[in-house]
Symmetry: D2
Subunit: 341 residues, 4 copies
């Protein structure tokens, strides 16, 4: 199938991650977007919903998901909200390759899912790929940032016993697009502009999935503190992770370990010593940038990492997964560099 | 030369338009960036100057322009400030293909140039291409937006005698990147955020070149009023042009004429009736969007047009010109859709 | 009543203009806010709805408008949406002094109102003061900017026959707070950030009221073109008005006339020759700044004017009206200078 | 002196904190600004340097500091950069009351000052008041936030042995105005917009002064980690402080202790349980808001605090100090509520 063109459906195409899949697909020689679903917007031209894609003239109109003829689809991006996602995925043909951008299948423990995402329908077997990994075996063994990257930047560290597993504090700052396109007072321009606030302090629902990824990496239970902040930018996520180094380990050891671990990853860069990653350096691109710094408090280090939440944190990572699932070159359609300013 | 790889120099690569040429080049199969000049930054890695391009690992270090070996260069983008530009271009080998993004060669009348850009060195023969057109004949006759697009959106109208040539009022709003990367108090974040101001009211230096383009199109002298405004966005330019229709002509006639004129242009779209172009719809892309509306005042119409000033207004248009000069497909490396949000 | 304290109700206090009335009242020695209404938010502490006013500890909880005891209220600010406003004002005791910030009573012609604000309930007699003027006679004759200021900056000009009444083109740019606090997709941060767009081109509902004001000033019918643009700022409105000068009149004549007209107005400033008003110069203050410039097209001038739409364009102007109605010093609680940066 | 009017000089009035002193002074019945210094801008009208203060018509022109007649000045705000400050203060008459907004006198240990602010002139005796406290005894004993508030929000906690003194991690996010008005590439709008970055990781110069304040409060050495981040807002500072609770202490204990400690402070509010302070809630006001939350990691708490860096973090706190030094009501000219949106 390597050189063929696959017919792709984008489910939930009227949201930001759906639009981003279409944007990236325009540079993909193996993808033809043949189905766009959006139940509330069915019947509309895609460019009426997303006028910035007016030049994507070869995409179809939006349809209801129940009107899709799945025989005409080779693979699907599922860009639906949680809960909705599992209901939809349940009905898809089992032969369909699915890249799921939602949270519905990231947590392996259904009880934990039910706690984090109430009300919690009983969850069935998942899609081909959710963002935390591939179930279709990729062509080679890989270190992969899970969906909550860059919060998971320190992931390889507990595995190697370089940091203590019970004292990881992650201070995250993210852009507004992560909250989606639905109209909410709290996301109005006037409520967001020129300011910062934390939210869900002590209780954010992403913590269990970050812990799950870190625990798997460490081979032992890891507990974290994760405090998200919302800032006035559309895209981007930055994490400042405060970690306690294992006895005898230096921040430079941790940096070297991360650099070695991610070497060969096409979209992860551990920066040169001392260089600080900005969210502006990854805007619109599929790259994750990170670095490690000694903390002023003895025995501690600070890991700083950035991504574009809509690309590496969602649609770009999904495209990367699809490329691997389809046997295409992993970087296809993802070579765009960041856009600055 | 169609399938060959050309060796490209970017002169003045430490500014925003230089960075944008490198960003676009990453998607160009026929371009290898072999020279980056920046006299003040010579010796630095490009990613130290523009960390968002850290993934462009195959670009060279910055050098001084006097240290370039021109025998190793097939074509050059000149991203230098005006006045500097003509001094530099004077010294380049005449065989070198040059795409000039500066204002130095846009005005045909040296006296007018001297008035708009004092102090005014005597100007010599120009480069292969400045942004208002091509001196190397392109493969087919073309309607082209000049550099000051989208201010020139009404350009085809006087030619067709659809609007009066002496009552064109252009209210322009543009992002801050147009002012370049040099440190000036007036462009600090705190001076720009959350606000708008006009500048150069009644006297902006772009007026003569817009008039030159419009006059050529009309075959008769055209005079305009051009009032630029600076708003708190990094990229983008929007023009609201107030025009007086010729007797018997309607706004819809004008709209139809522009649509017909730009049909076949790969990067210009006259939108569906009533659709309003936003700058957000072209961010990061090479597209110009425009539309025409009836004014409430009888006999008048309003033309609204948008571009990304760093792409269609500078580096993207330059790349489009280079593609034509080199005999490559005109749209190469420019297929990226706009990035939103 | 000059030194007494008046008991003030704010109707529709859960919107931005309601909050702004409370903010300004904190500096007013003669005002005690005793009633805040908000039907959907009734029962809440005001600081739960507007946490930035947490320090306004002496304000009451929100109540439903039907639960207000009007005997305990001396004057009311009506900050309700149009249509709702007239229903509410109809029921208020006729003795109550009312400053109305809505559009419901600005248009004198009910038929025109019905056309601009459909569906159009039949309109009854208005409040004590709507923003375009005072019905309670002020202490001295005054030139006043109507609500749609600064669009009306040229208002005094037709009166004096300095400009032609049928060729006034107003290009307006305004912040997002003018659209209120209700949750709409088009006002989400991601939809607004880093961009500009026009809207309601050729048909904005404010045109008739601006024309009404200008026509009254001119003593003859005036027609305008008004094209609003939305930009990524919370507060502020800027108008660039393109006017045609009467024969023999210069831009400097017009400037001198405006300066003379507004002399003595405490909150209007015609700037020094050549100085350009920015919206950033009035943020949070009750000032209107303006200036006049010669256009490049012969016989034309450009009038530039700015206000903070929530202060001079709404709550501050309302407070100024209340001060006059109550016989207080006109500038009370309005002395705050603009906040920059 | 209570009802008299004091003649005030603002030294370094061409920077943002100088402008802010003038803005606040407009609401102060006891202050007449008689001197504004700015060596580079001497001779200019203040409104040419800060056009948003055009309505402050009673302020003098800028002069050179050497041209000030100190006999005409009762008190001075010193808004100069560090190093310059001590040179200037050295020459002032010893009778002059001085409120210093710089960092020059915050550190008590000259050696530490020399390390943090190289090159380090030998430092002489300080001003009447630097922002970390008063040398003129105030009228009553007070708990005061030091200059680096809100980083110092946990300050009262070590004193009461509620948190461990050697495991305090402060993640700070601040607006761009803290960097002043001088033209630097890194503070250009295009470099700042729509993004976040940390800086001075592991080495920020404010750490020693925060430690000094905390150590004094605790009566024992305290060491902190302080990681500042720059975000795209003009004003505001938010700190998320991760602290380890002493055995048996709960987050609610810490919250109650802070609430009790700051009770009676006119400008500090510990919010209701669960309420999250946003920087938008203090913009333009002199308030500090804070709250305490249990961390997900056992035995830890999170303290969140916000201020406007130009008001509570600089000019407003300075005004509060001046009020106390002069025997005026502490809150004079500081009653303005926050401006939102």
């Amino acid at each position: 199938m390597k050189t063929d063109v696959a017919r792709i459906a984008v489910l939930g195409a009227s949201g930001y991650t759906g639009a981003e899949v279409v944007r990236l697909s325009a540079l993909h020689p193996n993808i033809k977007v043949t189905v766009l679903t959006g139940d509330k917007q069915a019947g509309k031209n895609f460019s009426d919903v997303f006028p910035h894609l007016v030049a994507a003239t070869n995409v179809p109109k939006l349809v209801k998901i129940d009107d899709v003829n799945w025989a005409d689809v080779d693979a699907a991006f599922c860009c639906l909200p949680h809960a909705t996602t599992q209901e939809v995925i349940k009905k898809l043909p089992s032969s369909l390759k699915v890249v799921d951008l939602s949270a519905d299948f990231r947590l392996k423990d259904p009880a934990q899912y039910a706690e984090c995402y109430p009300p919690s329908p009983s969850r069935h077997a998942g899609p081909s790929s959710s963002l935390d990994g591939l179930q279709h075996p990729p062509s080679r063994p890989r270190q992969r940032l899970p969906a909550a990257a860059p919060a998971a930047a320190p992931a390889p560290a507990p595995q190697a016993k370089l940091i203590l597993p019970d004292d990881i504090l992650i201070d995250a700052k993210s852009g507004v697009s992560g909250a989606g396109r639905s109209a909410k007072e709290s996301n109005l321009y006037c409520e967001i502009a020129e300011g910062i606030n934390s939210y869900a302090v002590g209780s954010h629902r992403h913590m269990p999935e970050i812990e799950q990824g870190l625990s798997e990496a460490a081979g032992a239970p890891v507990r974290i503190s994760f405090t998200p902040h919302l800032i006035n930018m559309s895209r981007g996520m930055q994490c400042t992770s405060y970690v306690k180094l294992a006895p005898g380990v230096t921040a430079e050891d941790l940096r070297a370990h991360l650099a070695a671990t991610y070497e060969g990853e096409p979209f992860v860069r551990v920066l040169a010593k001392g260089a600080i990653p900005h969210t502006r350096h990854v805007r619109g691109s599929n790259y994750a940038l990170m670095n490690v710094f000694p903390d002023r408090l003895p025995g501690r280090a600070i890991v700083i990492s950035v991504i574009d939440n809509l690309v590496k944190g969602a649609s770009g990572q999904g495209m990367q997964n699809l490329n691997l699932m389809m046997g295409w070159e992993e970087t296809t359609a993802l070579a765009q560099l960041a856009m600055f300013p």
